[in-house]
């Protein structure tokens, strides 16, 4: 990793302060740099904006230069030259930058990482200063520069948070933009120092260390587990089987959903999509029927539909119906149950009815924006790291590039939950089914349906393959219970819940899960006790 280290030690550390106009950046710098800890250190302060307050160094160790926004936009060469000149003149130990709140962070990266400056300076830490009172309001309205700055910050400093709940809310908003960002109160100087001067390992090095650790663990833990009669080999095989099965479908899902996100303007959807919920649901079901994707694919698509402003009930109907009624699933059910059309038709009908009902229960629920974790913000820009506004990129090649990056980001963000969910369910699949089947022996119909639905949830099978498993249980369970398995399993399972949590609030996921379970259970139970199946 030599190329990463280089001669970093010789470089001047650069600390960047980001934040919206009047967010308190200058005040923060005045307070921090005038502390006596900095007395002996020669500092170059570079301001890229002029707020109401001016920076004043009290100890005569700070030299200040500032550039207006106009220069920043038009004469970058001049800025670079001037900074270079100042560095040579003053030989600062540290450089502190007050960055402009409405200019993207990528501009700063261009200045310091892609110019001769990168030989002299190294961006050490980026912090974000936010006014607790205003930040949420500002974030929803001011375009993509600010979220981009937050996403690039190492930690954030919050000023003037009145209550714990406000603080928590801000933490959630920030976490939605930059997962794992740490928040600090403006007066907690000790914590700030720690953050500013702690040398965390380089992420790439950490990555390789963890990789080596996994390999080492594998060789140590596996024999130990084998000795304990825990079937690790089976778990690994099952895990890989499900992953190899799911990843292609997940790819189809993220590609389609990114295509919706990038290529279909919001206005078109608003204009063309049926206004009434009934008609919308019909479109959703037809769409679900036409898409040969399993549940791994329908969740990213669901997310982008909600973001694009499709009514929530319709989007939910789409997400829950697609994995049950699509042609691949129909075909596999048909094969698994040996051409038994009754099962196939029952599965399709139940799938449609249940998903429509689940959708309808959300018809009166709260505003769409509360459902997504990022709130209103999430609809403004994509939560996954590409901050160019989809609507502002107009050239076709630009859109293709954005489409590819968007699909990659979405693949990773949903994929990590897929990996975790798959791992849990592969453990359950390997050791778990016996528990379910043994409790069946004394069960009545309601309990059987319940057991099969819980099993469908826990096993998290891909909807294109669950019919075969269901078939293998059909000797022990009544057909009503099998139907519960076939209808509920594709809609909701551990894997799906995990993947949903990549973009939706916990409250919403729990609500959706409960409603889906109850509706599915009642319908299947009623029909099978009336002899309808």
């Amino acid at each position: 990793m030599a190329f990463l280290m280089g001669s970093d030690i010789m470089k001047i550390p650069v600390y960047v302060v980001t934040g919206f106009l009047d967010g308190g950046k200058t005040t923060f710098l005045n307070n921090l740099l005038n502390k006596k800890d900095w007395k002996e250190i020669s500092i170059l302060v570079i301001q890229f904006e002029s707020g109401e307050e001016d920076f004043h160094g009290r100890h005569n160790n700070c030299h200040k230069i500032s550039f207006p926004k106009k220069t920043l936009e038009q004469q970058q060469k001049q800025i670079i030259d001037e900074i270079l000149q100042n560095i040579q003149e003053h030989e600062p130990d540290e450089i502190w930058i007050e960055w402009n709140g409405v200019v993207p962070f990528s501009q700063l990266q261009l200045l310091f990482l892609n110019s001769p400056l990168h030989r002299l300076c190294k961006i050490q830490k980026v912090l974000h200063i936010a006014d607790a009172e205003k930040i949420e309001n500002i974030l929803g309205r001011t375009g993509s520069a600010l979220p981009e700055q937050i996403a690039n910050s190492d930690f954030a400093v919050i000023r003037g948070a009145r209550s714990k709940t406000a603080y928590k809310r801000i933490r959630r908003v920030m976490g939605g933009i930059n997962p794992g960002i740490n928040l600090y109160e403006a007066r907690a100087y000790n914590d700030l120092y720690k953050q500013l001067f702690s040398g965390k390992g380089h992420p790439v090095n950490v990555f390789f260390q963890v990789t080596v650790l996994i390999i080492a663990l594998y060789f140590i833990v596996k024999p130990a587990m084998d000795a304990l009669k825990i079937p690790t080999n089976t778990i690994i095989n099952v895990f890989l089987g499900i992953i190899l099965q799911a990843v292609p479908f997940l790819l189809i899902g993220v590609l389609l959903s990114s295509a919706i996100q990038i290529f279909i303007p919001k206005e078109t959807i608003e204009r063309r999509f049926p206004k009434s919920i009934g008609l919308g649901m019909l479109v959703a079901i037809l769409g679900g029927f036409c898409l040969p994707v399993c549940d791994c694919a329908s969740i990213p698509i669901f997310r982008s539909l909600v973001k694009k402003g499709i009514p929530l009930p319709v989007a939910i109907t789409f997400m829950t119906a697609t994995p049950v009624i699509n042609p691949v699933v129909i075909l596999s059910t048909y094969y698994a149950f040996g051409g038994n059309m009754a099962i196939v038709i029952n599965r399709i009908c139940f799938g449609i009815i249940v998903s429509v009902l689940i959708g309808l229960t959300f018809a009166n629920s709260s505003a769409q924006s509360h459902v997504l974790t990022g709130g209103a913000l999430d609809r403004l820009m994509c939560s996954c790291g590409c901050y160019e506004d989809a609507e502002s990129v107009t050239t076709f090649t630009g859109k293709i590039g954005l489409f590819l990056r968007h699909s990659q980001a979405e693949f990773f963000s949903v994929g990590k939950y897929l990996v975790i969910g798959t791992f849990i369910s592969s453990i359950f699949q390997t050791i778990g089914t016996g528990i379910f089947t043994s409790s069946q022996s004394s069960a009545n119909l309601a309990l059987s349906i319940f057991i099969m639905m819980v099993m469908a949830f826990v096993l998290s099978l891909c909807s294109s393959s669950d019919a075969v498993i269901a078939r293998s249980f059909s000797n022990q369970f009544p057909i009503g219970a099998i139907m519960g398995f076939l209808v509920f399993g594709p809609m909701m399972d551990i894997k799906n819940v995990m993947m949903l949590s990549s973009g939706f609030s916990k409250g919403f996921i729990v609500k959706l899960l409960l409603r889906a379970f109850i509706i599915c259970f009642i319908l299947v139970f009623l029909f099978s006790s009336l002899g309808g199946i």
């Binding site: 990463l4 962070f105 990528s106 990266q109 990482l113 892609n114 110019s115 001769p116 980026v126 690039n152 910050s153 380089h202 992420p203 790439v204 950490v206 990555f207 990789t211 390999i215 080999n233 690994i236 095989n237 890989l240 089987g241 499900i242 992953i243 190899l244 099965q245 990843v247 292609p248 590609l255 596999s332 094969y335 698994a336 149950f337 040996g338 051409g339 038994n340 590039g401 590819l404 990659q408 990773f412 994929g415 990590k416 897929l418 990996v419 699949q429 119909l445 099978l461 891909c462 393959s465 075969v468 498993i469 078939r471 293998s472 249980f473 059909s474 022990q476 057909i479 009503g480 002899g531």
Partner: protein
């Protein structure tokens, strides 16, 4: 601006895409993917490889666009499957499985015994719809000479069927679909001794193979039931070559009667273990 710097995150992603995509391609071309999924996944895995290759290429354009905040944790989404695929682990055998025996009928066009005993209305329709049967018949109505060409191992003159290891799954569905045609045929097939304690009688066992209908998660032993006096002497999970005669036997399960093809064993010899799984359809 001649001084370009390097973006380690993009480079890391580039490596991960290449590794994952390359591994997909290797798995398919070497046939190793069959240990995890069925042959039907082949085009999908190629598709995955192609998408990964495209993503890797687009990464190249951004390789020299540096950024301050470097992330690497997300790459584990690709790294963990790659690691698990590369680290040593063996394919599964019956001893590893907890799932139930799936009769050959589950994998073919005929459903048989399902439903709860107490509620007859809950049972699955036990016969295939009429038209369905006709379609199947038509499909299999092939002139006699061509027949053996389609079904390797069939000797119409001597009424024998030799099931090779590669044609196990195919023959299983063939026999279930065209039961009457093969009544009385001599059959030879290889599998491991499988006995389901709950439902098998003393003189019954199955020379089974593991069948994968979708992925390795749904592996289940499958095969034809054998009648053999000394079945209890056979060691479970040992590999045997079974020779015997095919007969249609009336069976009963939960008050429903159905036909089941069974082998009346004449000879059993130990056999080498057969690698690989059986893929129905």
């Amino acid at each position: 601006m001649q001084a370009k710097t390097f973006n380690p995150q993009v480079f890391l992603e580039f490596i991960c895409y290449l590794a994952f995509g390359g591994l997909m391609y290797y798995l398919v071309s070497s046939g190793k993917y069959l240990n995890y999924v069925t042959p039907r996944m082949k085009p999908y895995l190629y598709f995955t490889g192609v998408v990964m290759a495209i993503w890797a290429c687009t990464g190249l354009f951004r390789l020299f666009r540096p950024q301050h905040k470097i992330r690497s944790a997300h790459c584990f989404v690709l790294t963990i499957p790659v690691l698990f695929l590369l680290l040593p682990h063996g394919p599964l055998s019956t001893a590893d499985l907890s799932s139930n025996y799936v009769g050959g009928n589950a994998l073919t066009g005929v459903t048989s015994n399902t439903g709860s005993a107490d509620d007859p209305s809950n049972s699955i329709d036990t016969s295939i719809p009429e038209e369905e049967y006709d379609a199947l018949e038509e499909e299999y109505e092939v002139p006699e000479e061509e027949y053996s060409a389609i079904l390797p191992g069939l000797d119409e003159e001597n009424k024998t069927i030799t099931v090779s290891d590669d044609t196990f799954g195919m023959w299983l569905s063939e026999i279930y679909v065209n039961m009457p045609r093969f009544e009385g045929y001599k059959i030879t097939m290889t599998g491991f001794v499988f006995k389901d304690v709950d439902s098998f009688k003393e003189d019954e066992f199955v020379p089974a193979r593991l069948a994968m209908s979708c992925c390795v998660a749904d592996l289940a032993p499958t095969g034809l039931l054998c009648k053999y006096d000394k079945a209890s002497e056979l060691k479970t999970d040992s590999w045997v070559k079974v020779e015997g005669t095919l007969h249609i036997v009336k069976c009963q399960y939960n008050d429903i009667e159905y036909d089941d093809p069974q082998i009346f064993v004449t000879k059993i010899t130990p056999a080498e273990e057969v690698e690989g799984y059986v893929y129905p359809y």
